[in-house]
C-alpha cells in the first residue's frame, strides 16, 4: 500500500514539473531551420514532399541505421525461435481447425487491391504523403493475408533473409554514388541545375529499395512467430 501511494506522489511531481516548463515555451523557439527548408528544400533535393526530402537526402544516415535495426531485430527473433529437429510429420490436435469459407473468399477479393495500393504509396512518395516505410508496411500486410487462405504455404525464411541482406548493401551503394559527383557522401548525385524529372530518379530508386526491404523484414518476423516450435 505504501508503494502505491509513493508511486502516485512521484507521478504527480513529474506532472507539475512538466506543467511549470510548458508555460514559457515561446522563449525557446527559433524558426531558422523551418525557413531554410521552406526556401531551399525543393531546389536542392528535387521533391515536393519535404518530409521525404529530409529522410532521403538531408538525413539519409538516420534511415540507414533504421534499416540496420530492422535487420538486427529479424535476426534476433529468428535465432530465438529456431530448433534442430527435422521430423515435421507431427500433427497437433489443436491445429486441425479449418478457417471458415467467408474469410477465404473475402481475402481473395481484397488481396489485389491492397497490393496495388501499397505499390502506389511507395512509388509516389516524393509527391504526395507516403514513402518507403509506410508503403512497405502496407505491402507486408497484403502478403500476410495469404496465410488466411492456406496456412501451409509459409516459405522458408532463408531465402527471404538473403534477399534482405543484398538489398541493404544495395542501399549503401546507391547512397555512395554521390561521392564521385559532388564530393560528399549520402546526398542527391545529380547537379542542382537539372530538371525535376531527372532529380527524382534517385528518390524513386531509394524509395522502392527501402519499401521492399521493410516488407520482407516484417514478413520474416511473422513467419518466425508462426513456425515457432512446430
Amino acid at each position: 500500500m505504501i508503494r502505491r501511494i509513493s508511486l502516485i506522489v512521484l507521478l504527480v511531481v513529474i506532472f507539475f514539473g512538466f506543467l511549470y516548463s510548458v508555460i514559457d515555451l515561446e522563449a525557446f523557439f527559433s524558426t531558422y531551420g523551418k525557413d531554410y527548408f521552406f526556401a531551399n528544400g525543393y531546389l536542392e533535393t528535387g521533391s515536393l514532399n519535404l518530409v521525404t526530402g529530409i529522410y532521403l537526402d538531408y538525413r539519409l544516415f538516420d534511415s540507414l541505421f533504421e534499416a540496420g535495426i530492422l535487420i538486427a531485430a529479424v535476426s534476433g527473433v529468428t535465432w530465438i525461435s529456431q530448433h534442430e529437429i527435422t521430423e515435421k510429420n507431427a500433427s497437433f490436435m489443436l491445429d486441425k481447425q479449418i478457417t471458415p469459407g467467408l474469410f477465404i473468399t473475402f481475402s481473395r477479393m481484397v488481396y489485389p487491391f491492397m497490393l496495388m495500393f501499397g505499390i502506389y504509396v511507395i512509388l509516389f512518395g516524393h509527391v504526395s504523403p507516403g514513402g518507403g516505410f509506410q508503403g512497405g508496411a502496407i505491402v507486408a500486410t497484403a502478403i500476410l493475408i495469404l496465410y488466411y487462405i492456406d496456412s501451409k504455404k509459409a516459405t522458408s525464411i532463408d531465402k527471404i533473409l538473403t534477399i534482405e541482406k543484398i538489398l541493404f548493401l544495395t542501399i549503401l551503394a546507391v547512397g555512395s554514388i554521390s561521392y564521385f559527383t559532388k564530393g560528399t557522401f549520402f546526398t542527391n548525385p545529380f547537379a542542382l541545375s537539372a530538371s525535376e524529372a531527372v532529380k527524382s530518379i534517385y528518390l524513386i530508386t531509394l524509395n522502392v529499395l527501402i519499401g521492399i526491404k521493410v516488407s520482407l523484414g516484417l514478413v520474416a518476423i511473422f513467419t518466425a512467430f508462426l513456425k515457432e516450435g512446430r
Binding site: 508511486l7 531551420g33 523551418k34 521552406f38 529530409i54 529522410y55 538516420d62 530492422l70 508496411a137 516450435g229
Partner: protein, 109 residues
Amino acid sequence: MSPILTIIVILIGLYGLATSKNIIKSVFCVTIIEAGVILLFLNLGNLEGGSIPILGNVIENIVDPIPQALMITTIVIGSTITALALMLCIKIFHNYGSVEWKEVLGREE
C-alpha cells in the same frame, strides 16, 4: 492545454507499467507510452500554425518538417521492439510454466 492532456496519457501508461502483474500487460503499456510521446512531439511542432509540409500551391508558412521525419523512424522501431519482447515471452512460458512476474522471478536458481 493540448500538451497537458498528452502528458496525462504518458503518466497513465507509466503507472500501468509499474504495477502490472502479467508480463504481457507490461508490453501493452510500452505501446501506449510510445504513442503518447509521438503525439507530444507533433503537438509542440504545431503551436504556431501553418500548413502541411508539401509544396505545390501558393502557401505562406509550413509546419516544421523535421520532427515528422524522426517520428516515422520511431514508429517502425517501436514495432520491432514489441515483436522481440513477445518472442521472449513465449520462451519464458515454455520454460517456467507461467506468465506472472512474481512466479517467474522467484523461481530463478
